[in-house]
Symmetry: C2
Subunit: 559 residues, 2 copies
Amino acid sequence: MGKSQQDNRQWNGWGDREKSLALTADGASFITETLGLATPLPVATLDEVLAKVPRSRLDKSELYTCDAEVRVRHARGQSLPDWLAMKSGEFNLFPDGVAFPRSSEDIRILMAEAKEQGWQLIPYGGGTSVVGHITPTVSDKPVLTISMGKMNRLLDLDRVDQIATFGAGVKGPFLESQLQAQGFTLGHFPQSFELSTLGGWVVTRSSGQQSLGYGRIENLFAGGEIETFEGKVEIPTLPASSAGPDWRQLVLGSEGHLGILTEAKVRVSRLPEEEFFGVGFMPNWQQGIACAREAVQLGLPLSMLRVSNSIETHTQLYLSANQTQRHWLAKLLSLKGVGDDKCMLVYGITGDKKSNKQSYKRLKAVISQFNGVNTGQSLGKKWAHKRFAFPYLRETLWQMGYAIDTLETATNWSNIAPLTEKIEQSLREGLADSSESPDAPQSKVHVFSHLSHLYSDGASIYTTYLFPVSGTYEETYARWQRLKSTTSKLIVESSGTISHQHGVGGDHAAYLVREKGERVVDSLQNYFNAFDPKGQLNPGKLFKGIPAKSLQSHGKQDQ
Amino acid sequence: MGKSQQDNRQWNGWGDREKSLALTADGASFITETLGLATPLPVATLDEVLAKVPRSRLDKSELYTCDAEVRVRHARGQSLPDWLAMKSGEFNLFPDGVAFPRSSEDIRILMAEAKEQGWQLIPYGGGTSVVGHITPTVSDKPVLTISMGKMNRLLDLDRVDQIATFGAGVKGPFLESQLQAQGFTLGHFPQSFELSTLGGWVVTRSSGQQSLGYGRIENLFAGGEIETFEGKVEIPTLPASSAGPDWRQLVLGSEGHLGILTEAKVRVSRLPEEEFFGVGFMPNWQQGIACAREAVQLGLPLSMLRVSNSIETHTQLYLSANQTQRHWLAKLLSLKGVGDDKCMLVYGITGDKKSNKQSYKRLKAVISQFNGVNTGQSLGKKWAHKRFAFPYLRETLWQMGYAIDTLETATNWSNIAPLTEKIEQSLREGLADSSESPDAPQSKVHVFSHLSHLYSDGASIYTTYLFPVSGTYEETYARWQRLKSTTSKLIVESSGTISHQHGVGGDHAAYLVREKGERVVDSLQNYFNAFDPKGQLNPGKLFKGIPAKSLQSHGKQDQ
């Protein structure tokens, strides 16, 4: 049960076992030249890990399995600490059992049992969290992970209302194939699309690559059903309402604390007549930011617009093009005044052909206005082809001895350039005193960023950083922890959100108070506690520690 | 203080004393033919009302005024019960004082005093609520109304982020004039635009006529500052975040229960290059609905699209065109196959000229596809010119002996036609047994509807109803109460929201549980109670009665 289904899945890394993303020779030498040669850490085998899985604290039951391998496969997500745990084999914590419910009724039975027995429950979608959403915490009581993958059907498609009802465990590709077969699309394509689930998208407030056209999951999630400890709550699919706060907005971002979302109703769109992606190059980061801001503030109807900074552009070209290609591109661009500081722009245009033509024309005018060069669709096709492949590179780099992680935030436009600079500097210099010389391989961190989601008032910043692993897992973790905590603190102290699209989980919980304020965080935690008075639902995620019992316990000072 | 400022405002009706909207002779005879001749009720004078204002329970203070006229002028909104109270002079309840704060600091002082003294606080924006948001309730403690009108300045305009910061008491025209002087617009134009305020729009989840282009207030409200009993809470202007639930969404629709919104930051747009409104006619209501649905589901970039049903179209033409104009229009339309069931479509197109041209072309194709006729911009201009004038008709009709009220909801597309039919039937037949014959003038209600706000998954339905007043105010109120309660119950039992744009206030509080479910409503009420443990903030609005202390007190049954 559940085991065979998982067979193609990497048990200790990203994605499908049979897929990989190799580096070109150029790409590999670019990395080693940038970060120095590195020595990979030894990787534990599945058998070694299985030998360490403790006895389950759950009694045998038909409601779940206590099979050791299934427990291993559901113990961790895809954060860097998760990777270090999986690769080292030092998981430390496992769920005591994993359930694979097939219906809301199954979930109701599981929740009733959990409530009575005091079990902790962890909802599990695609296992792709990069912030520790699904990692068990230390607990006196048994921990049961509820894996939603069997609840993955299109239950209803209302072609008039354009609302589709899915089992919340449906993964991206199966969701889209079921919809597209009937002429519709959800249009939600996060990088984790191949593995992540609709329910996961909702409860973590996910955003897809084409959110500029289709909206964030907040805009797409219309309603559905959630099983709480008090029974089912139905969320009506009202197109809009002014009848007090919109409860959907408390389900979005609840990260398991309300209960388990079983059915999600989503607003779907008709399949577009035409969609294409293209690539342009801006002369530098400032012009790239300005071009993106102009396009979105003009209201150009694009479905996507991303801007890489110079280092990301440089890195991407080394990883994806050969020397001849890079040479000709540089030559072409320099003829048009775009030099070494070039910043790549990737855009998506989706809609009817005539409108697309007009949108494209307007976009090209904006690119020109900021002295950029449009290279058209050939590089765009390449991007689209690999849009979900990037996470596979983690394994390739890991095997070379490099760890890779990402940080992301969103902020207002006027803060974009300064905040990007601060984030990159914090990461780039974050390990500087960890060895004698700042140029020593031990201290090198390769950092680059892009704007991935645009809004009239700001954008998200997505920063990738690579560094060589240290001699031990403990040291490597400590290095990551230093980079992550320093930079996360900096983000929330610099008017950025701790997460634009990954959520809070365990890894970001410490930074939430700085972002939202103590009163607001306590009030939200108290809100969720009312649905879960004993703290059984995904404890340790979203919030850190126990809430103040009441707002009255705060002083009267301003924040 | 505050008195002179109010001088131009009707003290017992809508809007500016010097403005009115007269009926044409045709319009007047259409109404009397439809509803029978009616006898207006006697209207109390201001002096009569002033004589009835009880002594204030507040001590004299520089923080507020206890002037009787100011208290009268802030005692009621614009619901039909409010009108009956104002016209009869039977206000019954008045605030004990009215404060006109000039700053957040003033509000902090008022709230500290209120907290200590146990006063009830009612935030007052433009006084345009049609659901009893600002009506005092019976209270042992003094009631202080906080009128926000002096906090009306544009405090900051960030041209890069396109975020404007306003004092929350700014009214529509002053907000737009301050923005438009600098090349920007908020684009939020509810029918109450001339009088209603930004803060009111936010806390009641308002929607403007051009929400199709600019979004609802939820999309425009970026953050700001709210004064609570525990001090100021700053709401950051993050363009988007996945860091748990978005607290802005709990401010939106809070109807005063969190505290007083002092500064609101809003996402503004650049002034469009071009904007125009136009009118088309569809052969019947079904085709009108289908045309609207097609336009919005195709994603046509319109800023507005409204569809009146046949009775509304018929009524509008009688009220706004003369016989010759109606004749020629009917002749023109019938040549193109659009007859007596014609439904008027009003559209707005806003943007750059080239895109507008393309949008207009696409819209005309959709109108044709559903056998409609586009008449172009001349009637659209007329509509735009009078877009905020309709409420003035209430006074004209009142003086003829007719009461007018509106009901509005939103629902999914497949429910639009059936729900509109149910609502209209409920109102039309709602007074049928109140006199011997169903054709007796006493039982007549004239009812018509339009779709005013469109979404991919549904639309709002806005229904207007007129009926002759009865011999006394008490009887007239009873007739209204019957229509309102029967139809409101029907709406929430038929998958409609109790309000798409007016909010909950006191009048809709009883229907909220049916819409959201008991658990959700109790949880929200408990959430707000934590910010207001003694129930001093606008009590009796949004929620009805005292919440269940805890969710645990519910049974385990599903809803």
